[in-house]
Structure formats: C-alpha cells, structure tokens
Symmetry: D2
Subunit: 338 residues, 4 copies
C-alpha cells in the first residue's frame, strides 16, 4: 500500500502517521519528491483500511499494490485448474457443454430435453428446481421434486447434473447433485459461500450483475478458504445502461479472468442476452475467445415454459449451436489448422 | 400487456396468438392501424411471460401497463405508512435518526457512541454484529456477542436497536432486536426475504447496488406477501461508472419512491459516499428532498475502527449534522416559515 | 404511441386529452378495461412528446410502438447494405480489416506499418492525424501533415485510408481521404453529423461510450437524412462499472444491430479493452459473432508510441490475429465445413 | 507515477525499464520489498503513458499520484472563484438562479417567462436557440432568431442571458450573449472547447452523461488553458442502469467538486430527472448540499412546449421552488440561525 501525502504536510503529522503504520506491524519506506512525499508500507497490509487512511487530513491518496485474492490467484498457481464433475473435467482444454431447461417441469420434459442435448454434444445437464424470481407471485420451481426428476434424467442419460441452491438450509437436498450452482444474486451471500466452502463438491459460481472481477474472485476465495477448491466461474452478463439486451455480456472478462486466476471460466449466453436468437452468436464468440465451457438453456416447448422461455433454444437449434461451437473450438485449439 | 405485431403479419398467425392468449384466461382487444396491429390483453396478466411473447416471429414489441407490486403500491394505499419501531414512528412526517458504529466492538465503545448520538438527537441506535465483508480474511463482526452489547446500550440509553441479519439461520438471535436490517447484497436473497416476511417486526430493507426501484419494491413485496408489512426502504447509493465516491447516491429515488409506494424511505449517506466529509452535505440534501430518516455511521475513534472507519463521523461532527438536518426539516415541514 | 390512464380518471379529463391528441392530427383508439383505460394514437406520432404526456395528472404511463429511425431501419430495407471504400466493399459478407497506428508519427513509421498490415491481410489503413485527447496537455496529432503522410502510405501500398475528423472546419482537409471516422466522443456532435451528411464519402461512425443502440442508429440517421447513406457502424466498448478493462466491449450489439439495421457493423477490440493481450481474443470473438470487420491498432514500436501504445499490437502479433480471424470467418461462412 | 513490478522480475529487465524512464527525463526511486519491487518516478510524468507501462511484461500495475488538471485544481488555488456574468456573480456564496424555457419559441413566450422568473427571484435567463436533438426529425430550435428574441427579453427585464452553442462556427452569433453554455454531449468536443478558451466570456460547462469528475475538470482545463478562466461547472445527471428517472442526478458531485476545484458548481434538476414533479425536491437538495446555483426550465404553457415540456415547471411552481431554495440557503449560510 502506498500513501501519497498532501503537499505541505508538516513533518510531525507525517511522522505520527508513520508511527501509527508501524504500530500495525508494518515497515515504511519514505520517498520525498519535490511536490509530494510518498510512504510505502511493507509487510502484510491485509488488515489496513485503505479508505480510512485516505480520509486523513494529510493524505492525498492511497494506492494498493497487492491483490486481495490468494488461493484463486494465478500468480501463485500458474497452471490452469481442472474441476472434475463426476467424470466430466472442466478447464485446461476440457470444455463443458452444460444444457437443459430453465426450470424442471415434469419427468417427461426433463428426460426429453436431457436426451436431446446429450445427442447434440452436451456433457452436463442443468435444470432449475429452486428458482430465484424477482416477484413473490411468480413460479418458484418444483423444489425437492425437481431435484428428484433431475436424478431420473441423469440415470436415463448418464449426464451429471447441475442445479442452483438458494440458501444454506437447502444444502442437504443437494447431496447427490453433481455440481451446485450459486446464482448471480447470491454471489455475495457470504453465509451461503461459507457453507459451500465446507463441501467437497464442484461449484458453479455466477458473476453478480454488478460485480467486478475482483469481487467475483473474492467470492471464489470465500469458498476456497473453506477448503473447497472446485470452483468454476461463470460470466453471465452485467447490468449497464444498455437496454436492448437484458444484460451486457462482458466477454473480455473471459481472457481477463484467465490472466488473473487459474480457475475455469464458462459463459452463459442465455441469461445474459435474454433473447434466443442472440444465444448462438454469443456462444460461438465465447468459444472463440477461450471460454472453458458454455451453459445454455434448452426447452422442448418454449411457448409453454414456465419461466424464461424467451431465452431458451429448441433442441434442434441447440444442436446447430453445438456444431458451430465445436468447429470453432477445433480451429482455436489446433493451431496447425490455421 | 400490449403486443405490437410486425407489419405484414398474416391473419392466421395473428389469430393463433390471440387464441393462445385467450387460452391463458385473458381477453384480447385488437386495434388495427395503417402500419401496425396492436393487441391489448385484458385480465390478470401476471402469469404471462413478456419476454417469451416478445421473441415470437410475428411480434415487434411488448409493453406492460400494470405495476407488478401490489401491497406496497401507493395506487392502492394512498396514505403514507408509519412503521413503529418499539415506540419510535417512522414515516408520514416522523423522522428517523438512526446512528451508531459500523461494527459493535466493545461494551465501552457502543455505550459511549449510543450516549453521544442520543444527546445529538438520534432516536434509534445502529450497530453491526454480523458484517458482510467482501473478503473472507476481513473482520466479520462480533456476531451474537455484538447483539448482546447492543442490548446493553439500549438499556443504558433507551434507544431501540437496529442490526443487520445475514442469513435466515441467524434470525433466532434477533428476536429481541427492535428492527432488522437487510443489507444491500441480500436485497434479492429471496429465501431470507421469505423468512423475514413471517416475522412481526420492523424491517429496514436496503436497496442493492445495482437494483432498480421496481426491484426494490418487489423485494419489499416478498416481505409483505408473507404478512409482515412493517418495511422501511433505504437508498444507500448505486454502482455506476463514477469513481470519485464509493457509490452514487441516487437522491431522486426518495421523491420517486414516495410517488410509487406508501412505505417510508430513509437515506444512508455514509455507505453511499464512503467519505466522512461528504456525509453532512448528503444528509442535509436527503432531509431537504423529503427523506423519512437518515442512517449515519458514528464512531468514537475512527482511526481504530475495525471496519469502514473512513465513512464514520466523530460524535461532535454527528451533532453538527443533526443540528443542520433538524433546521432543514423545520423549514421544509413548516411552510409558513418560508 | 399508447397512453395508459390512471385508475379513476374522470371522463371529462380523458376526453380533453383525446381532443388534444386529435388536435395534433392523430386518431385515437380507446380500450376500456376493468382496471385501466388505454388510448392508442394512430397516425404519425413523430411530433408528440412522450415525456410531456407522461407527466399529465391523469396519465399512468406512455409506451411508444414505432422506431424513430427510418432510413437505417432493417424493417424497411431487409437486405444488408454494402459500403464501398475506394474499391474495398464492407458488409453483406465482405469483411473489413482496418489496421494501423493510433497516431501517424512519421513517414517511415506509417509506411512500415502499412506494408506490414497489408502483408498480414489488412485491406484498409487507419492512422490518427487529429487526436481527441482528454487532456489539453497531451499530444494532439500531426494534423494536416499526418493526413499527407497517410496519402503517401496509400500510394506505397494501395490501401485506402481511414482517419478521424474532429470538427466540421477540418472537412476540407479530408477531401482525398477514403473513409472519414467520427469518434465516440463526437457521436452526438449533431452539427458535425449534419455536415458529414452532405458529403459523398464512406463514414465510420463509432458508438459513444454511453450511448444506446437506438442513439447510435439515430446518429446514423442524421448522416443519412442529409443524403449520405454510406455509413459503417463501429462497436468500441461502453462505459460501465467494470474496471479491469478500459471499457466493456458489448459484442451482443453486433447481432442485435444486424437485426435492427441494414448497415455494416465492425468492431474495435483495441480501444474497447485498452490492453494489447485482449485484442486477439476479442477480435476472434467479434469475427465469430458476425461482425463485418475489425479495426485494430498496430504499431511498429509500441514502447515509443506517442499515444495509446498500450493497446497496440506489434505487426507480427497482428499477423497472428489476422490468421485466426480468417480461419474463424472461413468456418462461419462455409456452413458445409461444419 | 508508481510502477509495481511483478514478483520475480529479473534485475536486467528492471534496470532496462529504469533506463527508459530516465530517458524520459525523470528520476526513479526504487523500493525493494519481500514480495515486490516498486519504482517511483520523480519529475513531470505528464508525458508518460500509464497504460503503456502497465502492459509491459514485467509490470504488475501502475498508479498515478498527481492530478492531471492544474488550472482548475483547488490545491493550487484554495479560494473559491467567482465568475461574473454581466454583473451577476456566481460562486463563493453568490447563488445563480438561472431559469427559462427549454427552447425560445416566440417573443411573447420568452418575455412572459423572463418576467415571471425574474419576479420569482431568478437572476439569469436561459433559453435554447440551437437545440441538440437525438433525432434529425425533431425541432432544432429557432437558431439566430432565438438569440435575438433572448436579447429582447434581456432588454425588457435586465436579466443577463445564457444559451447553448453547438459548434465553433456559431460563435460569432454569441458575441452579445452573456454566458455561453456547452451542453453535456459536447463536453468532450475538444475543438469547440479550444475555441471557447479563446473568448473572454463566462462559460457554463455541463457534465457529460457518462463522464467522470476528472474528465469534467479536464474539459474545464481545456478552456482555461486557452486563457478563459470564467468557467462554471454544471452537474446535470449521469447515465446509469436506473430507469425511473431520465438520468441519475449525482448530487455528491457538488461537495466533491468543491474539494477538487475552485470553480463554481451549479445543478440542473430539470434535465437530470426529466419529470417536473422531481424538480423541486432535487432543487432544494442541491441548495442544501452547497451548490452555487440552479438551472431550471420554466415554461408558460408546458402542454404546448416544442421540446422537453415534461420537465418544465409552470411559473407559479417555479416561484414555489425559488421560495424553498432561498429558505434553505438562508439556513445553510447563516449558521447562527441553526
């Protein structure tokens, strides 16, 4: 951490601050320039409140120089991590094709969709049982029954299953679910993250609508600090002023996260755009820029879907997306082909 | 809900959609113009997925015409509500002065601060026991012990107490807390909102960093739909591109919320700005534009606060803010004085 | 335009509004529901102020149902347009590879870069002569001399040239420039747009940092309404809360704009990210999702570039990007290959 | 400027960078910590490209420590400036009440409004002659004729006049206008700023919809660097995800700008909210938090206003706003009254 003092700071005030910093167990390097004096703190600055120092009378500004995330930081773990979901690896060249309906609605529906997406190349089945809905009056999911239907579809197809948990009290129901999803609105539900950190199970952590990459990594850090290092990150669009699509898909987050962390990064082109005809272009774009997987909503009858039908693909459209994605992956991972 | 059809839509496709809408239990009014045909749905459109219809081939756009929030809607409840917190009324001209430290740190600290803010005119004491922190490595609050210290301070001063809950499993500890705060990051923790809705206790619901007013009202609706109508809303700054202050305080939300809902609306000038010298200007501005109260962080020794010291006022500064706020309130509520 | 009246609006007030609307030369369709009355305006509503009506006492809300952009609207011109830049077509399957330095610095530099990007597959040369700089103290470009150097590079390589104009008074200097760029900060410099509309010359119109797609299209409309229909749109990143990259590249704007307009849409991965190692992933992603071209900054010696060196590629890196982009284009445009 | 090197940077690469920095005419202070080495540049770093250095292989991050704005910086000019508009001072306790119609429409209209706002306490008259409109098909203002009508209203009332210029070529028409407004969309029209800097005339510079305070100050710096130091800043709302009001009024910008600059800061509550019933609450809030003035739209017949009628007040409503604003100013500037 670096403290820039205001021009004209009296020496005694400066020394008082230096004493206070030393009192926190840190060393101080002082650099006196013509227009300003800079104090560099050396040691573990984790417990220092940057904003607090920034508010002192004599301080012009404060700059941090170390990342607050450690376990997920690529600096300390240069090789990309692989997260194994009941036999399906994600990351380091292994591509996740997660597909399925927004909500599990019936045994027929989930089995039909599961077979269709498997035939198209999906290797993981998603399905919502507990649904986060903005309105208390909207359909909230089949809950425990939905999870049971997912397991039946897994048995039928062999696809490991992914579903979203909305609160720590639901976790016992997820014991036999292969991968647990933390939704965007719960990305900073720290109590839930802490509980998730105690499990030995792959986690799909979605970026919040207004969260920075650093905050996403800090939430991964919460889970990893608890002992569970099987975290896959998911970019799913951020909230901006732009109003044509539901959210703004921040695809540059994919290569940027790959620079910052060793964790796998997948993309959800369905929720980010909210429009089924934008799913394919965003899916291939994500594959092109290096994503480690895709999560796509597929429904057998979008006109009657109980939620988020507008962004769901029909199985035949998903097959087309998958074909294009695999072709792109082929090109990008076999440089000789170029 | 109004559906604008694309120019040139064949009659049979249009009629098919009309049949589908009627199949959902709604009536349809059709208006055929020169360039476009418009379908108006009449009846309870709450279960219709707007985005789904917007994605149909023949549909140009869809417009909603009713608010999705009902219990908190001012249209159906024109008089402003009053929420009574253990004898302290908020709303309809009753002003809440909530003050106290970001975190409860010790008995001495909380009693000292409680006495100081009471002397300055505060009528409710706040203090964090469970702290939502972005980093798992930061101080997370004194937890249950912190709540006990708050009760001691209440006994000493008579001020009802307000503290933040972070998960439903903590609720039993809050039985004897006068008002429960839902933090910005939990505004859409729907499981928690549902549990809160079952209580008979005043709730302070903070707006999420990237949530619209409609979403804030839908979260209030979650609580009220459960039977608990004692909800106070709190504007605490939103996340924008602007980087000088921590968040952007959206003060126009105060009069706008007063148009939309009968619930009281208070303002938190501490967290929204993150800078102690902006607290006073934003507090008086909030009072001027009609807020029903203020929540302000006050600390007896900001240099050693364990969290968010940068935005906390010293007791003497709080007294100055309170004086100005009361003077403004005086002017604004006694039109004869102008 | 559709007007939703407030519940309980007296008939005489409603009729007064209807009279007013008719006085503006429009017809009115009225639809009376149980909870609300809806008025539909039929005719040319272009001159009606939506916000004004929305502020009337009896009005609950107002919805518009027609696009304000006409000449660039795909509804009225379904085939994609091709813009021809001195023999290089852009759009409808023709891909623009625009490359060159941020600023023209010297004859040697611009010729060296031009030859290198041409060898790598570029078909248009860019170079800044007039530079929009946030600070009055920064390098502002070589101005007229820079344009002359671009012409020399064009003569050497045969590549048509693209350069940015910053004000109408500079237009005479651009007479012999093949394509004129309107920068993001001038996207709503309506006076400049009007002057540009009088020219018979291809225009590259960049999206402003905080402009919606509708606003971008309205700015294209300004140019086209003047008679110049040779407009190419450019997505170059928008301003959001996200702070890791300079701006947030909104790639979903590419397929979305293709739905809304017949004009070609290219992408600038250099300015949007501000980081040279994100240019390649974003360039291939743009090609994958259907962009009609790319504008990429290339410099022969980034360490000494006078501006924006951080986002510029070295020629050998550009050649690598171009190879990957062409491979992706190949896959996406030859469905048989998939 | 401070450069944090990556852990494990070889000494020769570090020394190479140090040499390069010295080659730019700067001194370097090196601080070697356990985990990182920090280089501090000493001297005028104005010409160093921060982003360029940040992209070097060996560099972890770069921090700037000096403000890029100088002439408007409060550090070098601690007393607040007063801008004198033909006898009406703004700043340092002098409050500007700028009012008038969005567009000048007729002699009758502008004189009637001018008399009404003067009677209510306005000391400056505004009126749009050249109108920046998003659509080329909307009313663009009376242009030169509008400016003439403003002069007539000035003669009738004695109020100095303020009007917006949209391009440098219009400046000759503004010779006899008392204060020239630069609109939000032209805040970074650097060519126009440079021309404005050559005048000896008060300038009202509005903040752009997505511009940071630093960028606003840099635009003021453009004008001041040209020799014209009579700049008044205007906060008029920023673009965010929030969709209930047209823009989000960033009132904390007022006290923040007062910390950063000596220039006066006024607020426009009309454009920022776009709704006439939010103008009064935002106007009094602005007065409470220390603004040096207000610019408010007033119209004698909002239902027929040719533009932006929705946000305009009727004269009697303006009189009410003015009364409340003066009462607030009274309280805030006479501490003894509190």
């Amino acid at each position: 951490m670096i403290v820039v003092l205001k021009h004209g700071t009296p020496d005694d005030k400066r020394d008082q601050l230096i004493e206070w910093i030393k009192g926190q167990g840190l060393d101080v390097h002082m650099s006196i320039g013509k227009n300003q004096t800079i104090l560099g703190m050396v040691g573990d600055t984790g417990s220092i409140d940057k904003d607090l120092i920034a508010c002192l009378d004599i301080v012009d500004s404060v700059k941090t120089v170390t990342d607050p995330f450690k376990l997920c930081n690529r600096k300390f773990h240069p090789a990309p991590s692989v997260v194994n979901v009941s036999g399906v690896p994600i990351g380091a060249g292994n591509f996740a094709m997660i597909a399925g309906p927004c909500s599990v609605e019936s045994e027929e529906q989930i089995i039909e969709v599961a077979k269709a997406v498997k035939a198209a190349g999906a290797n993981l089945l998603r399905g919502g049982a507990f649904k986060p809905r903005t309105s208390p009056y909207d359909f909230q999911g089949l809950k425990a029954d939905g999870l049971e239907l997912l397991k039946i579809a897994r048995k039928e197809t062999g696809l490991p299953i992914v579903s979203e948990v909305m609160g720590a009290e639901q976790l016992p129901l997820f014991e036999d679910i292969d991968m647990i999803q933390i939704g965007a609105r719960n990305m900073q539900n720290f109590n839930l993250l802490r509980e998730i950190g105690k499990l030995n199970k792959p986690i799909l952590l979605k970026r919040g609508l207004s969260n920075t990459l650093k905050e996403l990594l800090m939430s991964a850090e919460y889970i990893m600090a608890g002992g569970n290092e099987q975290v896959v990150l998911c970019e799913r669009g951020i909230r901006t002023f732009s109003d044509y699509t539901r959210n703004t898909l921040d695809l540059a987050a994919v290569p940027m996260l790959h620079k910052l962390t060793h964790l796998p990064v997948i993309v959800d082109p369905s929720h980010s755009t909210g429009m089924s005809d934008l799913v394919c272009p965003m899916a291939v774009a994500a594959a092109a820029c290096g994503a480690d997987g895709l999560m796509i909503e597929v429904h057998n009858d979008p006109m009657h879907a109980l939620c988020d039908g507008a962004q769901s693909l029909k199985p035949e459209d998903y097959a087309d997306v998958a074909r294009k994605v695999f072709a792109i992956r082929n090109i990008m991972t076999q440089p000789a082909a170029i």
